[in-house]
């Protein structure tokens, strides 16, 4: 062994670094070339997803929330928020309060409201955008699989959870379960909110929310790059699913959390608690808004009790529904 060691040249750090770094760059280059050939980007393997999920993102998220809850001294507010504005391209002219000293901490700044006039409601469309952001994907739902981004799908049933069956027909597909008429189809649209976007969400149409289903879960990033890499990402992350009915039948809005934005608030649902320190995997918590006949449901909204008759929570197009919070 001694002789052997004497024969081998002592490994010099620089050549070693060049060798390994060059090898890695070469691997990345050929991997990217594979993508340029039109092949979809390789999906994460179950091991890679498990590894990513084992990362303490909830702990990070909650720590991030605590940090952003710390009140900043007045003199520090302008520099800190100006850095955030510059980094994420925030348009403060649209904010209801433009004076940066008004926001006591980054959490409050993140929840800033907009001037009502800066978001006019499109009158000619029966469906409007619920949030500011970027359209990640949209289209018709084929079979019972939804695309999170082109070519990467997730199961409708895993995403929404079990739905009550109409009648006794157990042979129909999950998708058929949701449809009220064979002349209709299921559609979907995904809006990605970047860190600098306004983070409240509004009602995309006139509809009634019958059920709120909260899935505690991972808090992986939902950045478009990760959405291309992790199949079923939207089924793994913490999310709040609101389901109900609109003029054409089934309607649902789902807010999906992420590492830096782990908390979701729904103004008419004060019971909802997201980004809790502990949760049991695969669990979900329902809140039913369709009261039994004799029960009159009252739910507390941001501006006091929201009227709820036995048919669920009535929401109007453009009405503020909830918000994402840091941490």
């Amino acid at each position: 062994l001694n002789t052997g060691r004497g024969l081998l040249p002592r490994p010099r750090p620089l050549p070693l670094l060049l060798l390994t770094g060059g090898g890695y760059l070469g691997y990345q280059h050929y991997r990217k070339r594979g993508q340029e050939d039109g092949a979809p980007p390789p999906l994460a393997t179950p091991t890679q997803v498990a590894l990513y999920r084992s990362f303490p993102t909830r702990l990070l998220s909650r720590a991030w929330g605590r940090l952003n809850g710390v009140e900043l001294p007045t003199w520090l507010r302008k520099p800190v928020y100006s850095l955030y504005i510059w980094t994420f391209g925030v348009n403060m002219q649209e904010a209801a309060v433009e004076d940066l000293h008004h926001y006591r901490n980054l959490g409050e700044f993140f929840r800033r409201r907009l001037k009502p006039a800066v978001r006019p409601i499109c009158a000619s469309s029966c469906l409007i955008s619920p949030a500011d952001g970027r359209i990640l994907h949209f289209g018709r739902v084929k079979n019972s699989e939804v695309e999170q981004v082109k070519g990467v799908t997730y199961s409708l049933e895993n995403f929404l959870g079990p739905q009550k069956r109409r009648g006794s027909d157990s042979s129909s597909s999950f998708r058929d379960l949701l449809l009220s008429s064979p002349d209709n189809d299921l559609f979907h649209a995904v809006v990605y909110l970047a860190p600098g976007d306004y983070h409240c969400f509004h009602s995309p149409t006139d509809w009634r929310v019958e059920l709120r289903r909260h899935f505690p879960g991972s808090l992986m990033s939902v950045n478009p790059g990760v959405a291309r890499w992790v199949k079923e990402l939207f089924c793994l992350n913490e999310r709040v699913v609101l389901t109900g009915q609109w003029q054409h039948g089934f309607f649902s809005l789902t807010a999906v959390g992420a590492t830096n934005v782990g908390s979701i608030r729904v103004y008419f649902d004060q019971e909802l608690q997201t980004n809790a320190p502990h949760y049991s995997k695969g669990s979900f918590h329902d809140r039913n808004y369709v009261a039994a006949d004799d029960q009159v449901l009252r739910v507390a909204g941001e501006g006091g009790a929201v009227p709820v008759d036995g048919e669920g929570v009535a929401l109007h197009r453009g009405e503020a529904v909830g918000e994402f919070n840091l941490g």
Partner: protein, 31 residues
């Protein structure tokens, strides 16, 4: 964060969108 809309609509429902486009609260998604 992400908002996912899943809804039933007549088969001739049409989106007025482009993938990757910027969108803001209140802008029409389709009809």
């Amino acid at each position: 964060s992400t908002i996912v809309l899943l809804f039933e609509a007549p088969k001739d429902f049409n989106f007025h969108l482009q993938p990757g486009q910027r969108i803001r609260v209140g802008e029409g998604l389709g009809s």
